[in-house]
Assembly symmetry: C2
DNA sequence: GGATGTTACTATCATTTCGATATGAAGTCA
DNA sequence: TGACTTCATATCGAAATGATAGTAACATCC
């Protein structure tokens, strides 16, 4: 896919760094506490070549950060940056969509770790409080 | 990418149908009112081969629906289904992320068509009202 | 009525990416 | 010394991508 980072669309901009399934699944796992190469590999069943590339891209793009957790032997792990952590809501919302429209059979559920209640994610406009999608949206392109 | 639709993770389920950048951009355009092959092609600069395939997949997956708008000559257009419309919040949130972390230069803004105010999308838990990401999340896997 | 235009594609094919498997590097541990 | 761990890279066939050209089925203009 061609480089979209020069468009004025923030969605396209977002997709240039995280526009594929593996990257999003890595971010999902990272958000759930995984950090190491082999943890990702085993969790995802991803080929190591691809994993290496995806981790490198996500690191370059500033969603992950390489951190040395052992000097001898030299070992690195990947931790989420602020940008990476802030991607979680997108994933959670995608999950909510998946639950609603691809929810056949047993599905994992996301639970508030403190209250124990199941989370019901919705996107709202912080200004009006209205659910996104219930009011028509217009796009204002910069001059 | 391998088929993830049998996992219990709703995020992975979602990604099996819409896990690539072109599909999401098509859904974005469809949400903004585009419907026809050539509208998508011109808006995205996508090769017609790829566009054909993506439209077919999105139609099979039930996010778009083919509708004949002219009998002679035979012409079809693509309209969003309920599932397709409900994907918009995911895109809007992705856009909010893109604005925050890839927002250099001039960016399009999303405007409430009625009030004219800029939309500030956030994901919240409908139960607690808390912003997603501000409270720790646990995953409950089905037995 | 022939030329040209419109719309939604398909054919072809070089390039790119994916992904499975094997291997390497830099150590530790017994 | 030899097995084990962890984070990768090398190789290579298969699959997807994408640029370009062409086609089918009409409408419209002169």
């Amino acid at each position: 896919m061609k480089n979209l980072s020069d468009t004025s669309c923030p969605i396209a901009r977002g997709l240039t760094c995280v526009g594929d399934a593996w990257s999003m699944l890595i971010l999902r796992d990272a958000s759930l506490g995984l950090n190491r190469f082999d943890e990702f590999r085993k969790s995802l069943g991803i080929a190591p070549t691809i994993l290496t590339r995806r981790l490198a891209t996500l690191t370059e793009e500033g969603l992950l950060e390489k951190r040395r957790y052992s000097e001898r032997p030299p070992r690195d792990e990947y931790v989420l940056t602020a940008a990476g952590r802030d991607f979680l809501p997108v994933l959670v919302l995608l999950g909510a969509w998946g639950r609603q429209y691809r929810g056949e059979g047993r599905l994992a559920r996301y639970i508030d770790a403190e209250t124990g209640a199941e989370i019901e994610p919705v996107a709202v406009d912080a200004v009006t409080g209205a659910k996104i999608g219930t009011r028509p949206i217009r796009v204002a392109t910069p001059e």
